[in-house]
Symmetry: C2
Subunit: 264 residues, 2 copies
């Protein structure tokens, strides 16, 4: 049996230590090709580049590993990986990260790391986004590695369906303090923003986004609870944003659906 | 009773004809404040600006209406609207659009228009993204207006819950041909990409994203079906990306969850 083809990407950029740790693990399990942004792309969500050309350049960053840097967003990287770098070869697994910082809870929708993994899942590829709860460039990814390997081995296995996405967050703890893996739902938490207001050198006003993460979802089945209690959180995630409960409720009440023509 | 406060934004930019049509309707129903991007922001998804300062400028674009243009993404616009332009006043409704082009099916995750509306919904604000299935700048938004008014009136009413998001797409048809409104789920369709390859003036290669929309979801309860059959599609949408069905399946099988420490 040939080795699985594993696409590795991230949103912190191709020189971030997190992607190096992920390449280390992935190359133990398959043939690795890296296509990652040439600059930090945190917070890019599911952005794609429509109105500008993209650059894709072969680079030597990881010894013995095929790697490309891309001028676009993380989602652009996945699209270019599939069609240009890999010339439509079948990808067995896409892993994105390891992100420097949490992508638990609502962070998933702002995260370039998770959006890249979701883009792969849209194409029917098994995919995983990995994040470590440490924002620093010097974060220690060593304790993550055996856990990441275990999760990747499971996902590569036959029991795991194609096109399924996992959002994996790892607490910033020494290896011996990590209590295990918890399957969770996304906590219903959010960011409370503030803007730092200032004046530029030309005395023009500017606003700079800042804020704090607030979780009022106190149940114990969430990713935030798992992480706060020493577990690695794994949230199966998807791109169908339909709110089926609201849809059923509105249909039951017959809201908005009368088939009459409205004239102004 | 005071008039409701309605925040209007979009992703095509503050001078796009689509937002003008939306302001026309919204100003019949409440006090309108516009905070919209100063340049086209299509395909920006849920991107936010973290590493750069943002600009927000009072502008006169719509007679008698308070309006601001913002240098950031559509999601940045909503955050700046809430905290800076509106100084944390309670927003009764956020409407985004009218987008020039479809945001049905999977387009919701790439769309700045819908991401702006979703950002408002995260803050507990009733919100609606409106799109017309005509990509041209000269699209005719007149047939949309009575329908948009009807949907906005419904959402402003007491029976509609706070923080709920609707994704509304309108077929590109003459007023008399629109058959009514259908409540739907998001069709399981996707983009099949291609890249236009070229050489720049310095003979360096570039790649430019293109592609076609493919729907193999043939059931009749989807937004794509509604639009193809002359209906306005309304999909209640949400930001909880948890795949509960996959989560239950994995929990039932006891996958990944053994609470043992893994050592390398």
């Amino acid at each position: 049996m040939s080795k699985p083809l594993i696409l590795v990407t991230n949103d912190d950029g191709i020189v971030a230590p997190g992607i190096r740790a992920l390449v280390d693990v992935a190359s133990q399990l398959g043939e690795v090709v890296v296509v990652a942004p040439d600059s930090p792309q945190s917070g890019k969500g599911h952005a794609i580049t429509i109105h500008d050309p993209l650059r894709l350049k072969h680079v030597r960053v990881f010894p013995g590993i095929e790697a490309w840097e891309c001028s676009g967003t993380p989602v652009d990287c996945v699209k270019l990986a599939k069609h240009v770098a890999l010339k439509d070869r079948r990808i067995d697994l896409c892993v994105s990260g390891i992100n420097h910082g949490s992508n638990a809870s609502i962070n998933i929708i702002y995260s370039g790391t998770l959006s890249a993994a979701m883009e792969a899942s849209l194409e029917g590829v098994k995919s995983i986004g990995f994040s470590l709860l440490d924002y620093s460039f010097e974060a220690n990814f060593e304790p993550c590695k055996p856990w990441i390997r275990r999760i990747m081995e499971f996902v590569l296995g036959d029991s795991y369906p194609k096109g399924q996405l996992l959002n994996v967050n790892i607490p910033n703890l020494p290896a011996e303090s990590i209590r295990g893996i918890r399957l969770c739902r996304q906590a219903d938490a959010r960011w409370v923003e503030e803007f730092l207001e200032g004046r530029d050198p030309n005395n023009q006003p500017y606003y700079w986004l800042t804020g704090k993460f607030v979780n009022e979802d106190r149940r114990t089945d969430t990713d935030v609870w798992a992480l706060e209690n020493g577990y690695i959180s794994v949230v199966p995630s998807m791109h169908d944003l339909t709110d089926y409960s609201a849809l059923k409720n509105m249909l039951d009440k017959g809201q908005l659906t009368a088939e009459v023509t409205v004239h102004s």
